[in-house]
């Protein structure tokens, strides 16, 4: 999981991403980004979130916590 912030930053086209970044305030927070995140989480972590779930995340940290939680289940 150590690369997850770098992977999310790449999708969002940011230099770097920290847990406190509010996703909706990112320039490229759109449906394509949501789908790209779903694809990346499925391929890299075997976690399958829905578009509605991803859209419902407030910060990058919330998203990472949700992925961690799913992996532990």
């Amino acid at each position: 999981m150590e690369h997850i912030y770098a992977q999310l930053a790449e999708i969002l086209e940011l230099e770097q991403l920290t847990a406190d970044v509010v996703l909706a305030e990112c320039e490229y927070w759109d449906s394509l980004t949501v789908l790209s995140i779903i694809a990346m989480l499925g391929a890299s972590y075997g976690v399958h979130l829905t578009a509605t779930e991803v859209r419902g995340m407030t910060s990058a940290g919330d998203l990472v916590a949700a992925v961690q939680h799913r992996r532990e289940q």
Binding site: I11, Y28, S36, A39, T50, A51
Partner: protein, 360 residues
């Protein structure tokens, strides 16, 4: 709703794709998005090439070309067709039915049943169900199911939501009685409350096409389209597919008493590679059993995609082998349908090009 049919089979299948090809890389300049974002879309969705009709080509042109090809090859007899079902959402005219146009252009017998069905991405399932129902009649021994659409003509080239994935194509599926009594199972569901997720707003009686409905507009997402154009709520459609399709397949297989593992091929409608991979993930189906390569080569041709996936991946094997196949189609209506059947040992299975008009 569950269906079961006995003593029927698909005896032949022909897919027809326009030879005219367009590429996503060439079209990117028409979209009001940064190039790197469009390249990301290409990578995630699996967009690349798609086949589009040249100006003026209609559904009946593709269908007549394919039928004549089969007559000339001697694998279909024009005097033995008892019913012609055409499934399309882009008819030649509002009236007469395009199935009548095809019948007339081919000089088929008068003693037959022609019908148009307005269905989209579930149109192969709906068409097969209708074909099997007609075959219950003693007078009907052979049904020709034509799926055809030229929806590129109703899609805005400046709409990155829809244009990169749309493809034009036709297919001809011959359905007959069979001595093999092996059952065919189907499941179909509809939800008209979600009818606006995929629609062409103008051009019918509710909103006749006028100069105003042809004006391109940005509805706030940087995509330019007119009321005359196909409009898709991509997120709503994505959610619909992920929520409704897996339980439908479970219901279908349970009704048939067949396990997921004993299905050889999951031949699904082809909206884009991403959606198919997500469906496969959800149902724990290996990607190798669910081909997802139609959109990148031909585009999404609505109800024609299941015949396209068969003809472009399994044509040779459909002649001499028999498989346990699961079909699923899902889209406009909203409509979602699936079918489990024994598929193969066909008399013909082929993909041909509809030639480009010469520019003389």
């Amino acid at each position: 709703m569950n269906f079961a049919f006995h003593g029927k089979r698909i005896s032949g299948l022909l897919a027809i794709a326009p030879a005219n090809e367009s590429s996503f890389l060439d079209e990117m300049k028409n979209f009001d998005f940064p190039v790197n974002r469009s390249l990301k879309l290409k990578e995630v969705m699996g967009y690349d090439k798609h086949r589009l009709v040249q100006e003026g080509i209609c559904v009946s042109d593709l269908a007549v070309y394919g039928m004549e090809y089969l007559f000339n090859r001697g694998v279909l007899d024009r005097d033995r067709i008892d019913a012609l079902i055409l499934v399309t959402q882009s008819p030649d005219h509002l009236m007469p039915p395009t199935s009548s146009i095809i019948q007339g252009r081919l000089n088929l017998q008068h003693d037959m049943f022609c019908v148009d069905i307005n269905q989209g991405c579930a149109g192969f399932i709906v068409g097969l169900i209708e074909a099997f129902l007609l075959l219950e009649q003693p007078a009907i021994r052979q049904v020709v199911l034509v799926n055809a659409d030229v929806l590129s003509r109703k899609t805005s080239p400046r709409d990155r939501n829809s244009y990169p994935l749309v493809g034009d194509a036709a297919s001809i599926t011959v359905v007959e009685r069979s001595d093999d009594d092996c059952a065919i199972y189907a499941n179909l569901k509809m939800d008209g409350t979600r009818r606006e997720a995929l629609m062409i707003p103008a051009g019918g009686m509710r909103m006749p096409a006028t100069a105003a409905t042809a004006v391109l507009q940005d509805v706030g997402d940087k995509n330019l389209r007119a009321k005359d154009h196909l409009c898709m709520d991509g997120s709503a459609v994505f959610n619909f597919v992920q929520v409704e399709v897996p339980p439908m397949i479970e219901t279908l297989l349970a009704a048939a008493g067949v396990s997921m593992q004993s299905v050889d091929w999951f031949l699904f409608h082809q909206p884009n590679r991403f959606m198919l991979h997500k469906l496969a993930d959800r149902m724990s189906i290996p990607y190798a059993k669910m081909p997802s390569n139609v959109v990148e080569q031909f585009g999404n041709s609505s109800g024609v995609t299941i015949p396209m996936v068969i003809a472009s991946n399994l044509a040779a094997r459909m002649l001499g082998e028999q498989f346990c196949a699961c079909f699923a189609g899902f889209g406009v209506g909203l409509t979602w349908g699936s079918m489990l059947l024994s598929l193969g040992n066909m008399n013909f299975c082929e993909l041909i090009d509809y030639p480009n008009e010469s520019l003389q």
